[in-house]
């Protein structure tokens, strides 16, 4: 699918992580963090926010009023941190799935994470309503996501012993449908849970707390690290299963590791923020189209850009109709889709 001409030295070098793009992506993330901290429905001067950050770092008295201080450091800052973690996770997991399944439509929810998490959350809301406000809810969603993908993997593996991508995707679709059936059935039986279930699915970042940030940080950090460490393997996998095998890569083992890492991270993200669509597809593809088709560039850049993208999206969700808010998934798709359409038109599509 690649160009017919053999890669020259230029081509080979460009397959790594271009330093200028890395710097640009890092600047984008930093800018997003600053925007996330300074822009919101309330006007608080950026200079005062900077001074209060300084004051907090050195244990001084914050120059902001008690209320503004709470808005910046207890409402905006955790949303920025959680948005960054979730955005980076979804983008990196999306990139990894696209590479390992060689499928441009693969997103982090491909193997049923979201449906499993939805079923887990619905079970808690329906049967343990008292626990719906506690940590049991994200925990059940997390476990639901893991269980769904584990079932999909077992099913896919029992069909194709080599761990073929096609069988695994079909198994994922099957398990996802089953999980959706469980969730819909429970909602139908106990209709007063519907509202809570949708509130969870659309959760977004509006309820972000430092506690939630700490809850998911270890899972996402480990998962993202594993996926970044596999960026070269993803490059090899992208040439095809047989070819990768002949190059000495244990395809099955690599795929298990990548799927496990992406699943654990995505489940953690879904557990605290509900379903946020489009990030896992749009961010890796934008980088693929603009920068390089090598996963050595796509994976680390997805991490930075995904984090920045979701932070900015959340700012838009909270301010576009301010003081009314929009579900973040609507904003990611509403602003993400036209942007991606432009990128798609302006560049040359290269198969995965």
């Amino acid at each position: 699918m690649q160009a017919a001409i053999p890669p020259g030295p230029e081509e080979v070098r460009s397959r790594g992580l271009p330093p200028l793009w890395a710097l640009g992506a890092l600047c984008f993330l930093i800018a997003a963090v600053l925007v996330g901290l300074t822009v919101g429905p309330t006007h608080i001067s950026p200079w005062m926010i900077a001074r209060s950050a300084f004051a907090h770092l050195f244990g001084l008295r914050s120059p902001l009023s008690q209320q503004d201080d709470a808005i910046v450091w207890q409402i905006r800052a955790p949303a920025v941190a959680l948005g960054g973690l979730v955005g980076m996770m979804l983008a990196v997991a999306g990139a990894s799935y696209q590479g390992t399944f060689r499928n441009p439509l693969a997103d982090p929810y491909l193997l049923g994470v979201s449906e499993g998490a939805g079923a887990g959350a619905t079970i808690v809301i329906a049967f343990f309503p008292a626990a719906a406000g506690t940590e049991l809810l994200p925990l059940a969603a997390f476990i639901g996501g893991l269980v769904a993908v584990a079932l999909a993997y077992l099913l896919g593996n029992s069909v194709a012993r080599t761990g073929g991508a096609g069988a695994l995707i079909l198994a994922g679709v099957t398990i996802a449908a089953f999980m959706t059936a469980i969730q819909t059935f429970l909602q139908q039986r106990q209709s007063d849970t519907l509202q809570q279930v949708y509130a969870w699915i659309l959760g977004g970042l509006s309820g972000a707390t430092w506690h939630a940030v700490l809850l998911v940080l270890p899972w996402i950090a480990i998962s993202a690290t594993v996926l970044i460490a596999h960026r070269r393997i993803l490059d090899v996998l992208s040439v095809g299963e047989e070819e990768a095998g002949s190059l000495g890569v244990d395809v099955r083992r690599a795929r298990v590791l990548i799927v496990v890492a992406a699943t654990v991270g995505t489940s953690a993200a879904v557990a605290v923020s509900g379903l946020i669509g489009f990030v896992g597809i749009i961010v890796p593809h934008t980088i693929r189209l603009l920068v390089s088709s090598s996963y050595r560039a796509i994976v680390p850049l997805s991490l930075l850009v995904g984090a920045g993208f979701l932070i900015l999206t959340n700012v838009l969700a909270e301010t576009v109709l301010s003081p009314e808010t929009l579900p973040i998934g609507v904003v990611t798709a509403f602003f993400g889709a036209p942007f991606f359409a432009i990128v798609l038109r302006r560049t040359r599509w290269v198969g995965l």
Binding site: Y109, L326, G329, V330
Partner: protein, 310 residues
């Protein structure tokens, strides 16, 4: 599916619309949104063209608000079945029937001569017309005073016009004395009414929001109500608005309480939280436009007096 109460339903519809927008980008999930609301008809005509029976004896009510109205009018004995969310009065003949996801055959099994609904979901009116069953649609009124005509209309339709008029007079008298019981301070006290823990609220353009207006309160959701009467606010906006009174209408649905509200990040700086002016109300009573809604009015007035007398 979902709940009965108008605002729950509206909120659910808003959630559903958003969910559909989101989920269609993720997977092929289809959720049916509620049918559009039908206009009010004159009291003596049915909503679906089937003539109203002169003296209905087998009434099915699929709306919690109308169930309250029918019993307050003295037509309780004529009611043979009410939906699963008709919580009040306690002795109403509750069944598994649903007004949100109505099953025409299940309704017809009760051989009703009149069916009262709040929304014409899934063309229920037309389906019941085919079975020659008269339907009255009594939707959520846009104003507080819109509660009274429904009480009167259902009284007339069931042969209890006098008792309905008496019930209305009693309600109006109680409301007037509650309005007179507060000082209506200048500048006005501010209020935030919470419908669920994702900060859905009500504007003053609803029968619920009008309670706050009538008591001289300023509703922080009004600034956000652009084209919607049930806006979703942000945590930051609520904290920055610093309301004097928080009304929690999500105690039953979502388990919210003073404790959960005070624990939210940044919320401990809100005046209402600092002063313990967080009013917990019964979600069902606070969302049904029946005679019990006066209880909600009374609770809010009590909370306002408590703040004014401090």
């Amino acid at each position: 599916m979902i709940t009965i109460h108008a605002r729950h339903k509206r909120r659910a519809q808003a959630l559903l619309a958003a969910a559909v927008a989101l989920l269609t980008t993720l997977a092929g999930v289809h959720v049916a949104a509620g049918a559009p609301r039908t206009a009010r008809r004159p009291a003596r005509a049915s909503s679906n063209g089937v003539p109203l029976p002169a003296d209905p004896t087998r009434i099915v009510s699929l709306s919690g608000s109308s169930t309250q109205d029918l019993f307050a009018d003295g037509a309780g004995k004529q009611v043979v079945a009410v939906d699963e969310y008709s919580t009040y009065p306690k002795n109403a003949p509750r069944t598994k029937l649903s007004g949100f996801d109505p099953n025409v055959e299940a309704i017809a099994k009760y051989k009703p001569d009149l069916v009262v609904i709040s929304d014409n979901v899934d063309n229920l009116e037309q389906h019941l017309a085919a079975l020659h069953i008269a339907v009255l649609v009594e939707p959520a009124p846009p104003t507080f005073n819109g509660i009274y005509p429904q009480l009167l209309a259902l009284g007339q339709a069931t042969g209890h016009a006098a008792q309905a008029a008496a019930a209305v007079t009693g309600m109006k008298r109680e409301v007037a004395s509650l309005v007179a019981s507060v000082k209506q301070e200048k500048p006005p006290l501010t209020v935030y009414d919470e419908l669920d823990q994702t900060y859905y609220s009500v504007s003053s353009e609803t029968f619920i929001g009008q309670v706050f207006t009538m008591l001289g309160l300023k509703n922080i959701a009004d600034a956000a109500a652009k084209g919607t009467t049930y806006p979703q606010l942000s945590s930051e906006y609520i904290v920055a608005s610093n309301p004097d009174l928080i009304v929690l209408s999500d105690t039953l649905c979502c388990g919210q309480s003073y404790k959960t509200v005070a624990a939210r990040p940044g919320w401990s700086t809100i005046a209402a939280v600092k002063n313990h002016d967080v009013l917990t109300v019964n979600d069902t009573i606070a969302s049904q436009w029946g005679p019990l809604f006066v209880d909600f009015f009374k609770q809010v007035a009590g909370a306002v007096r408590k703040i004014e007398h401090r």
